[in-house]
């Protein structure tokens, strides 16, 4: 009896173990793609079906959402060397470079350069640059292109045209200068309307606006010099950037509770016409359409605070895919990505998901608001384009510091001093 039990137990264990191995042996012509884009999942599946019908290669899109969970999954898979054929990376360029150094990402430069760089030239230059490591980059990565942009993204100011009329403002002329912007604050207070809403509780969106103004006030070179440690955050230009947030708060432009507001709440407030301004990414077109299809709004560049340098827009590649350098299917994966970023597929993605396509040849027939977001690519900037990265604790102190300014707890000078102190600490550690 005991022997029978033992045999049965061993049999079950063997079955379990063999079942675990079964999926490994099955490779052949199939590609696995991991992503986090819930809104694009149906369109991806449709494109996968079309690709299979065309080539016989099965493409399995696996969705892992939300993005936080996805990000952790990719890191865990990297540690176990279990990454799929194609995947995306969420994070800073520093993280991207670590994946490359660890040998997880294929250099796509040779593929991009084929046929007189036909594939490379089909993209918006800045969308591709996000995935590019230039000669002499500070990350120590062999120069090349390591990712394929699927769509582009810009973050801009939005305004509600109907509420503009209600405030006695010209609905076709959003504020052009920071002074004009501030002048709207008292009108908002008088009309008991909320001003600017955004996901400033998720602090990275504060960083976007602050960097836009940093570019506008001191120019790209000085921003990069600050990141390199050559210019302190206590520089008058940085204090001017921080002071803009104080001025916005004092004028009544910022919505109540903005510092802990998540972007979903901000989107609801703007879509329900309770807020006049929003600072949001191009993905919002799809979101607002779902929340309020009759919403009449426009997009505009954040009102400039200085005439010295052009206003920047946070943007570049919205989402990108990378090919696993260790995958047995890497050639098929590259071919699939090339097909996915061809104009017809990109046009379908844009139409189905209201995201801006990365392929510039497919951008002709998109709605007006989306076109404004697309035009903003000319002014786009992103840390992944700068070639250097700021220390994470410095970014956190800077963004949390802006929250403190908005709630009236600290002055711009205090925040600048605190940020600089952290910057010096991090620089000392690096030395």
């Amino acid at each position: 009896m005991k022997r029978k039990n033992l045999s049965a137990f061993l049999g079950v264990m063997l079955l379990v173990l063999s079942a675990g191995c079964a999926s490994k042996s099955e490779s052949g012509k199939s590609i696995t793609v991991w992503h986090w884009m819930t809104d694009r999942e149906p369109a991806f599946r449709e494109l996968a079906a079309r690709y299979e019908a065309k080539t016989g290669i099965k493409v399995a899109f696996e969705l892992y959402a939300p993005s936080d969970a996805y990000s952790q999954k990719v890191r865990a898979a990297a540690q176990g060397a279990n990454l799929p054929d194609i995947f995306g990376i969420l994070g800073e360029k520093r993280d991207f470079s670590s994946f490359i150094k660890a040998g997880f990402i294929l250099d796509l430069t040779p593929y991009m350069s084929e046929e007189n760089s036909k594939w490379k030239n089909s993209f918006f230059a800045k969308a591709l640059a996000v995935n590019e490591f230039a000669e002499g980059n500070s990350y120590g990565i062999t120069p090349g292109i390591y990712g394929v942009p699927i769509d582009i993204m810009t973050i801009e100011m939005l305004y509600n045209k109907s509420l503009f009329k209600q405030l006695g403002l010209n609905p076709n002329r959003p504020p052009q200068t920071f002074e004009e912007f501030l002048d709207i604050g008292p009108k908002l207070k008088a009309a008991k309307l909320e001003g600017l809403v955004s996901g400033w509780g998720e602090i990275w969106m504060i960083d976007c606006l602050a960097n836009n103004y940093a570019f506008n006030i001191m120019g790209k070179d000085k921003v990069i010099a600050t990141i390199k440690g050559e210019v302190p955050y206590t520089d008058p230009d940085w204090i001017k950037v921080l002071s803009l947030f104080k001025q916005m708060q004092e004028s009544g432009l910022l919505a109540n509770g903005l510092v802990t507001m998540v972007n979903k709440t901000a989107e609801q407030l703007f879509a329900n016409e309770k807020a006049v301004f929003a600072f949001n990414g191009s993905w919002c077109v799809n979101v607002y359409k779902g929340m309020n299809s009759t919403l009449d709004y426009g997009a505009f560049l954040a009102p400039k605070a200085s005439d010295k340098f052009p206003m920047a827009v946070w943007g570049g590649a919205g989402s990108s895919f990378m090919v696993n350098a260790r995958s047995r299917n890497k050639e098929e994966a590259v071919k699939f990505l090339r097909w996915l970023t061809d104009a017809p597929q990109q046009a379908y993605l844009a139409e189905a998901t209201n995201n801006l396509p990365a392929n510039k040849e497919s951008i002709n027939k998109i709605p007006e608001v989306m076109a404004t977001f697309a035009k903003a690519m000319d002014y786009a900037t992103h840390p992944n384009l700068w070639g250097v990265s700021e220390f994470s604790p410095v970014i956190e102190a800077f963004d949390k510091g802006i929250q403190s300014i908005v709630i009236g707890e600290k002055t711009p000078e205090q925040v600048a001093a605190e940020v600089q102190k952290i910057k010096e600490r991090e620089l000392a550690k690096k030395r």
């Binding site: 936080d68 507001m261 929250q403």
Partner: protein
């Protein structure tokens, strides 16, 4: 034969041992190991940094602020939450109408998802369209309305109160179970001896409930010090650093800064502090029993 039987026994427990080792022992050892390294969680190479992660924690003001804030929430939970739980348990232990209904109602908050609770309370407390401010305005208390979660003066206390609302059901359940174990004859005897309600409570209920109170206090401290999801959902640690708690800081080090080694060192420091708190409680309890 005996060897076979022993082998069979070991084989039967092998899956449990393997699973326990993989999911508990190995990660536990890895955390200690990683705390002495600088690692971004991606690169295969880790740089040995000795005790520098721990040294950095000593001077990390935000970390200690988060510890203090966690302690503040714990203090509110220990007093307000447990007092409420005890009072409600005491009321439900008496012969009142619909007591089973109340027992169910009071235990609903703990079984709800923390994310759902966080989002619902965020909506209730919203400064623009929140129902709390709406009620306060209707009652003519407009001067009390505020943005509860974005105001640095109220944010921490507000999340502490919501945490208490979410957690009082556990204390209620344990207190109720404790109260029901007290023999009714003791109350009858006290009444025969002329004790009024307060004397019965002071001389019968309170002494016999001490072990339960200690248990609830330990669970409250350990549970509240590790509060995370609710705060993450409601404020994300903001405004500024006003609602940061240790687990949020560990997450920020790991995910925000990609500093796995430092995050592990923070985790160990936090674990040691919790062990110390539990040890002190154990000593106090031992002394009280003696």
């Amino acid at each position: 034969m005996r060897f076979k039987a022993t082998l069979e026994n070991y084989l039967f427990i092998a899956p449990a041992v393997v699973i326990f080792s993989i999911f508990y022992i190995i990660p536990f050892i890895s955390v200690f190991q990683l705390a002495f390294f600088d690692w971004d969680g991606i690169l295969p190479t880790k740089i040995f940094v000795g005790l520098s992660n721990f040294k950095e924690i000593i001077f990390d003001k935000i970390w200690w602020q988060s510890m203090w804030q966690s302690g503040y929430i714990t203090l509110i939970a220990l007093t307000f939450q447990n007092a409420l739980a005890f009072l409600l348990a005491w009321a439900c232990d008496r012969e009142i109408r619909m007591k089973n209904f109340y027992r169910v109602i009071f235990f609903i908050p703990p079984v709800l998802s923390e994310v759902v609770v966080g989002l619902v309370w965020q909506w209730i407390l919203n400064g623009n369209y929140g129902i709390l401010n709406h009620w306060l305005t209707d009652l003519g208390l407009t001067n009390l309305t505020r943005n509860w979660l974005s105001d640095p003066n109220t944010a921490l206390t507000t999340v502490a109160v919501v945490h208490c609302w979410k957690g009082f059901g556990w204390g209620f359940l344990l207190f109720l179970a404790g109260l029901q174990t007290i023999p009714r004859e003791l109350y009858e005897a006290a009444r025969v001896d002329g004790a009024n309600a307060w004397n019965s409570f002071k001389n019968v209920t309170a002494p016999l409930m001490i072990p339960v109170v200690v248990l609830v206090a330990i669970l409250t401290i350990l549970g509240t010090m590790q509060v995370f999801v609710l705060i993450y959902t409601m404020t994300g640690g903001g405004p500024g650093y006003h609602t940061e708690v240790p687990v949020l800081r560990i997450l920020a080090s790991m995910r925000g800064s990609s500093r796995f080694g430092y995050a592990c060192a923070q985790g160990i420091t936090f674990g040691v502090i919790l062990c110390m708190v539990s040890f002190v409680q154990y000593l106090v309890t031992k002394k009280a029993k003696a």
